[in-house]
Symmetry: C2
Subunit: 406 residues, 2 copies
Amino acid sequence: MSNHFTPDHFTPNHFTPHAAGDLNYLKSLNRSTILSTVRRYPGLSRADIALRTGLTKATVGSVVNVLGERGWLREGELHARGGGRPGRSLYLDGEQHVMLGAEVGVKGLRVVACNLLGERLASQRLDVSPTTPEETAAVLARLIEALLGDPALAARPCLGLGVALPGPVAPQAPILRLAPNLGWVDVDFLALLRAELDAPAGVWLLDNEANAAAFGEFYFIEGTPPESIAYLSAGSGIGCGVVSGEHFPVIPRGHQGLVGEIGHTVLVADGAPCHCGNHGCAETLVSGWMLRESLGVAADASLSASLLARLDEPEVSAALARAGRALGLLMLNLHHTLNPSMLILGGSLMRLGAPLVAPALAYFDAHQNDLLRQSQRVPVKVVEDSTFTAARGAAAQVMARAAIEI
Amino acid sequence: MSNHFTPDHFTPNHFTPHAAGDLNYLKSLNRSTILSTVRRYPGLSRADIALRTGLTKATVGSVVNVLGERGWLREGELHARGGGRPGRSLYLDGEQHVMLGAEVGVKGLRVVACNLLGERLASQRLDVSPTTPEETAAVLARLIEALLGDPALAARPCLGLGVALPGPVAPQAPILRLAPNLGWVDVDFLALLRAELDAPAGVWLLDNEANAAAFGEFYFIEGTPPESIAYLSAGSGIGCGVVSGEHFPVIPRGHQGLVGEIGHTVLVADGAPCHCGNHGCAETLVSGWMLRESLGVAADASLSASLLARLDEPEVSAALARAGRALGLLMLNLHHTLNPSMLILGGSLMRLGAPLVAPALAYFDAHQNDLLRQSQRVPVKVVEDSTFTAARGAAAQVMARAAIEI
DNA sequence: AAGAGTTAGTAAATAGCGTTAACTAATTCT
DNA sequence: AGAATTAGTTAACGCTATTTACTAACTCTT
């Protein structure tokens, strides 16, 4: 029978049947659904899960017990609802498996190890700008080895490794297409990494930084899960990842992996030249590289620290306000094209804080049109420190994939 | 067991498991997969289908035979490939079932009846501008009754009725949210229609015009099926529908049904006022209503006929060229946000022909950036006459839904 | 304090799915 | 005419979730 879990790297959990299914598919579908129900609603009992998923108590019971034996679920306290026999609450087990996640950013490398709850167990960072893909893979490999040096961590079963890169990834194969801010083109980064590293068994995945971050924020979100989110990543460049799907979150990627490349939507016809070869892109109005160039911040200096120290210069504060309004406009356009039910702002530019973010939110609020006003204001969440967000998101993708391959 | 086929009106064929599945689900999944394989590749044999879907010959054979008995499939000629026993080719049966589709447009009403091949068996049109929702429903009901007056048509089993409207539809319920160009707000059009019409049994669906058109163009496309398409509908307003998914085409709608509302992306910060209550939207640069207003075409006159007759006026040809370039820019932005693998241009503005379309295509070609140049140019198809495109698309959605409910 | 009532969870029997393996059918090639 | 090859069907089989009946564990009532 055809395999629903072929390692299309880009569909770590894309459960939409792209093929027919057999009984194994059904089994895996239901096991994953149960697992995701516990992830989204920690503390449910077997009976609660049966009610929510539509499966019978018998099915849920047997699946839950298997997942318990394999270290994915643990039982917790008894419910106290009154009535009859109390249900036993179920949780993802944070003490067994781990996933590794890594990010290659324009300004540094990040590596994390997470448990099934998305909690960071350990992390490593190196604030150097990547050079060639080969050298970067070697450095990242050493960083991962350092992380796995912790014997407590190395003793846990590892589900795999996810890597996030600052550029679109081909939808058909785990290959970086183009990273304008690194100067990389068509890089098979996982192969380079594999040459340097044996370490984690399991799935190896590659994704765009914004997609990875979006996935992680959606997958491990606390409270009532939203239908979908968009993670707007504002750093050296501007990108955006979208995730939706309750049990099997999907990242739309499009034909060339360009879904959410809103930094290169043209806002000024024949405007200022952009790194991408076009003119008047959103990145020419708001982005790390544009602020750096226009305000003269050295490549090796911290953009946020430099600019926050110069806030009294009218030129600087005006530039940040202008960039903030452009960001607000991008947020509006995002809602008329990808229309998420929640917007998360992240990326290194968020460290600039209110001088950038306040004008963005104000513009966004002030320019809602009739279409948007028809329904409740879409919530916006700001992640001030997203140092490990993309790396953790890559780890989340590993978990999602592993969960359907159990 | 929970029902995977709950009439979420907006997921006529959204087969992504949003719930666990039982054996019925599996059965329906495979039956639909086989059906869609025949739709996409007419003339395959049972053995071909088995190879393509991964199902066994035994399963395919039994399912195909049932679908034949129920009037969905018919057998055709024998293959002539040499080798062993020739396979018998299979086709969707165009002689049995019909689906009805309707469109309420700013300039008129359209109704069609299609067979399973998407062929138009009959149609009706009425070139009047809709007034109130109630009156429009009554007029449309009479039009549908007129269509069903044909006894040959009325004798066929009908799968249902799909209706397309010029505005975003709520993702949770079949309700029109807002049609700026009709002045309608929160209209339950299917209920109004039901009050006037008993006629077709089966599924009743409601969708946005661009989504419906996109669905139909994708569902009934000839030749090698693309992974995804975007249908850019340029009429009184500018909208866009996206469809992807080989066996179970999905229309992303987003939280408020605003996916693809690119006509209201802001391209000029604080630009000209738009019907939507904002300023500087794409529709202020290219749209039927904007051309009408700026070039002084009466509301009851045909926009394309009027302007084509005035092409020698420099003001008119310059305005069309300007609008065309804006359309080209929108096409570019579309590729950096929704990134379809094929772009189809439709809508009433296409009747303007080369004076509008040529500048659009030229701009699109000339401004491809490095990201787009990384891969093959995305094909663009122009539908000159899209009178019945949306109505047929609505009918296609009915078929897709019916196919999983067999 | 004991029993009724209620809900959680388990166990065994059952119906239905796709697969497997063996078959028949229909063509071409030698 | 027979071997080889491919298409399609049939019956037995293993596995799935369900159904039905049961046991377990609590609260509430009397």
